[in-house]
Symmetry: C2
Subunit: 247 residues, 2 copies
DNA sequence: TTCTTTATGGTCACTATGACTATAAAGAAG
DNA sequence: CTTCTTTATAGTCATAGTGACCATAAAGAA
C-alpha cells in the first residue's frame, strides 16, 4: 500500500470530515465553568457536548474555532478576537463518531466572566456548566474536556495567560482567584502578590489611584495584563507534581 | 449555514484528506538531526520533506504515525513502539497543499542514535539531516519543524524525556549532551549531575560497577531511564526566557 | 612521568519561595 | 462612634534550589 506523499493519487484519498471542538472556560463565582450545548439529535440526543462544528472548505481550523466561539457566545467576531484561543490536540479515534470518520481539532478558549452567557441564534442553547459538575458528555468530549483542564492548569504555571480569564482591569485578588479556581488550591496572598509584581510584564499598574468598589475590605489597586507572555521563573503549583497526565 | 453538529447532514460534509507528518529527531555527534525524505514528484519535486502519509480508513493518527515511523526508519514495529512519539499540533491552512485540502496532524518522535538510519522499502530514501542545515522544506514543513524543535526544547525543561534520545544505558555526560545539543547551550557538569541525581526517578543507576569504555577520560557510571516522567522542579534553560514562540 | 580529558565530589553565595506577622482601609455590627 | 470582620498591602525569616566555582579521581595520550 502506498501511503507516502510521493507515491499517491491525489484523488484516491479516503475522505474525512474535519470538525473543531471548543472547551470554552471562564471563572464565575470562584468556580471553573465550561460552555456546553445540548444535543438535539442522535447520536447522544439529549446529552451535553462541547460546542463545535465543521471546518468549512476555505477556512483554517482556527478560523472555524473563532467562528464557532462567536456563534456560541453570541458575541461579535470583533470582541471574540481578543479571547485567548489555543489549539489543544486532535482526536482521531476511528470510532469516536458512530456515524462516520470524523477527526476533530480541539481548542481551548479562555474568556472573562461574560455579562450574558448566551445571545441569539446558535448560542441560544449554549449554557455555562460548573466544570466539575458535567455529567457524561457526548462522543469523547469527557476526554477532551479533561485534557483541556490539564492543559490550562499547566499553562498557568509557565505563562501569563491567567489574565485571559480577567476583565481588562482587575485586582490581584481576582487574578489569584483564577489560579486558585483552576488549580483547586489556596495560595498565600502576600506570596502570590510578590510573585506577580516581581515578574516583569506580568501585570501593569493602572496609573491613577482608582480602586475597585463593591467588595468588603480595603479597596484594591487595579492592574492590566502586561506585555509578557511567559513566566520566568514559573509559578509552580504547590505540593508536588502537576496532577494531569504526562503523556 | 448550519455548521453545528446538531443540525447537519452526515453525508453532506466537505471531504478532507488527513495525513500525519513526523519530525523524527535524534542526537548524533553533538548535533540535533532530523529525518527527511526527498520528494520524487510535484509539487516540491526534489525538495526535502518531513516523512508522513495518509491516515488509513481504520487507523488513528497515532497508529498512522507509528506505522510511518517504522517504515521510514526501516525498523520493526516492535522496536519502534519504544520510541517516544508525541502529537504536536495540527496544520490546517487551506492552501498548505496546492493540490487539495489536506489537514496534517504533526508528531514529534525522539529516537536514540540508530546504528542504521535507513533500511529497506520506503526508508531507502530517508536521510538524517543536521536540523540547522535543512534548506527550505516542502509545503509548510519548515514551520512544522520549527514548532517541533520549540516543543522538544520546552519539554526537556519539564519532563524526563531527554532519556528518549539515549540508548537503554547511558552516562550522565551523554544525557547532558542531549540538553546541550537541543538547547544549543553549555551546561555546568557538576550542577547538571546534581540536578539529575537529586530528582527522584529521573535516572536509575545500573547496579554493578560496569563503566563505559571508549572515551578519553575517567570511565563514567551507567544509568537507565527512571520511572518518573515529570521533572519537579523543572530544569530551566539558562539565561532568561525560552526562545520559541509563546503562542 | 606529565599532560589532557572526563567524571565525580564538594563549597559558597544568592535567588526564589513558603510560612508567617503586622498594618491599613474599607464595610458591618453593636 | 467603637469594635469586629474582611480584604489589601508591607514586611520578616528560614530554607530549598541553583549558578559559579574549586578539588580530586581515573582513564588515555604525549
Amino acid at each position: 500500500m502506498s501511503t507516502a506523499p510521493e507515491g499517491y493519487d491525489p484523488h484516491a484519498f479516503f475522505p474525512f470530515a474535519v470538525t473543531v471542538d471548543l472547551a470554552v472556560f471562564t471563572v464565575r463565582e470562584a468556580r471553573l465553568h465550561v460552555l456546553l450545548v445540548e444535543r438535539g439529535q442522535a447520536p447522544y440526543e439529549g446529552s451535553w457536548a462541547l460546542p463545535g462544528g465543521f471546518v468549512l472548505p476555505r477556512e483554517s481550523a482556527e478560523e472555524a474555532a473563532r467562528r464557532e466561539l462567536a456563534e456560541e457566545t453570541g458575541l461579535t467576531k470583533e470582541s471574540v478576537c481578543s479571547f485567548h484561543l489555543e489549539q489543544l490536540r486532535t482526536y482521531t479515534d476511528p470510532d469516536r463518531d458512530p456515524r462516520m470518520r470524523v477527526v476533530s481539532v480541539a481548542y481551548a478558549a479562555l474568556v472573562p466572566d461574560l455579562p450574558e452567557p448566551r445571545g441569539g441564534g446558535d448560542a441560544a442553547h449554549a449554557q455555562w456548566w460548573d466544570a466539575d459538575g458535567t455529567g457524561p458528555l457526548a462522543f469523547d468530549h469527557d476526554r477532551i474536556l479533561a485534557d483541556a483542564r490539564d492543559r490550562i492548569g499547566a499553562r498557568l504555571e509557565y505563562s501569563c495567560l491567567a489574565t485571559a480569564f480577567c476583565p481588562a482591569e482587575f485586582t490581584l485578588g481576582e487574578l489569584q482567584q483564577v489560579y486558585e479556581t483552576v488549580w483547586g488550591v489556596e495560595l498565600d496572598r502576600p506570596n502570590f502578590r510578590r510573585k506577580v509584581l516581581t515578574t516583569p510584564g506580568f501585570v501593569q499598574a493602572v496609573d491613577g489611584p482608582p480602586r475597585r468598589t463593591g467588595g468588603r475590605g480595603k479597596p484594591a489597586a487595579l492592574y492590566r495584563a502586561g506585555a509578557a507572555t511567559a513566566l520566568h521563573p514559573p509559578l509552580l503549583r504547590p505540593e508536588g507534581r502537576p496532577e494531569g497526565r504526562t503523556s
